[in-house]
């Protein structure tokens, strides 16, 4: 119960937070989304890509960035619905609006890192930082955003490993 109250309090507070402090966790997380999408990487926040991107990505899981990530039909459908319902087009947070605003009408990015919003937010990070062994690539959110799994990308909690 305490936890529920805490979660409600967190989401209740979300709209007044500045862009840099906003929590990106969806109000109601889907357990299948969580377990399936976090098997090989963190379960990326649905609100960082538009509906059209999630639909395209979920229809190509057999070759998912070079790896087979195929799911059975019902599970894929359930996860797609969750992603779409919490996508950048539909999520009520400010950051989702900024992501949408950064995309051209015909742009269908399959990587969050391809969005102009992501590039702008990380423009001070040099190529050598991305290549550090403890970082590896821009897809490894948790390397610098320790709370990424919980949707916490607050700027003041960023710690870049050396």
């Amino acid at each position: 119960m305490k936890r529920t109250l805490f979660v409600i309090a967190m989401f209740g507070a979300a709209p007044v937070w500045a862009d840099g402090n906003e929590n990106l966790a969806s109000a109601v997380a889907n357990p299948h989304w969580k377990t399936e999408c976090s098997a090989c990487h963190i379960a990326y926040p649905p609100s960082l890509l538009p509906e059209r991107s999630w639909r395209k990505l979920m229809s190509g899981l057999v070759k998912h960035f070079g790896q087979d990530a195929s799911l059975d039909g019902p599970t894929a459908q359930e996860i797609t619905a969750f992603l779409v319902n919490n996508s950048a087009d539909r999520a009520p947070n400010k950051r989702a609006k900024k992501v949408m605003g950064s995309l051209g009408p015909n742009e269908v990015p399959l990587r969050i890192t391809e969005t102009a919003w992501f590039v702008r937010k990380h423009d001070e990070i040099s190529a050598s930082v991305w290549q550090r062994p403890k970082v590896g690539s821009p897809a490894n959110c948790a390397a610098c955003h320790a709370g990424a799994e919980r949707g916490d990308y607050a700027e003041h909690r960023v710690r870049i490993p050396h």
């Binding site: 090989c40 963190i42 057999v62 790896q67 087979d68 195929s70 490894n140």
Partner: protein, 136 residues
């Protein structure tokens, strides 16, 4: 009392998971016989060879099960693309491993495609599971 019940439930769940894992290879037996009339029984040593066998993927890169899961199935591996940790393959080192047949099939489908670029045969699956279960 609650703690005691949780403890008992834990033991029961653990025992059930072990039983599921032990019986997994049997589930591939009929199909293995169907695929190959010469087939007699699953072999841990064939499974071990299968696990370590290296081949060149059509993308030019060397691939094997062990490349991501390490040469020792008791050790944690790493996803070669994302770097995310993969818990040990051997049930002796990871109690949750092989406890869910649907999950086992899901990963056979994915990883056989990633490594062999084809589906695995029932014999390959049974040999491999027998190998993992033989690790103490």
């Amino acid at each position: 009392m609650t703690r005691f019940i949780i403890l008992i439930a834990g033991f029961l769940a653990y025992g059930a998971a072990q039983a599921v894992a032990q019986e997994l290879p049997q589930g591939y037996l009929a199909q293995a016989r169907q695929e190959n009339s010469q087939f007699r029984e699953f072999s841990a040593s064939r499974g071990e060879n299968f696990y370590h066998a290296k081949r060149t993927h059509s993308n030019g890169k060397p691939v094997s099960c062990a490349a991501c899961h390490t040469d020792n199935p008791r050790s944690a591996g790493r996803n070669e693309k994302t770097g995310k940790e993969i818990l040990p393959m051997a049930p002796v080192a990871n109690k949750a491993r092989l406890a869910d047949p649907a999950k086992v099939e899901k990963w056979f489908k994915r990883n056989c495609q990633d490594v062999l670029e084809r589906a695995c045969t029932a014999q390959e699956k049974g040999d491999f599971l027998t190998y993992l279960l033989s690790i103490k």
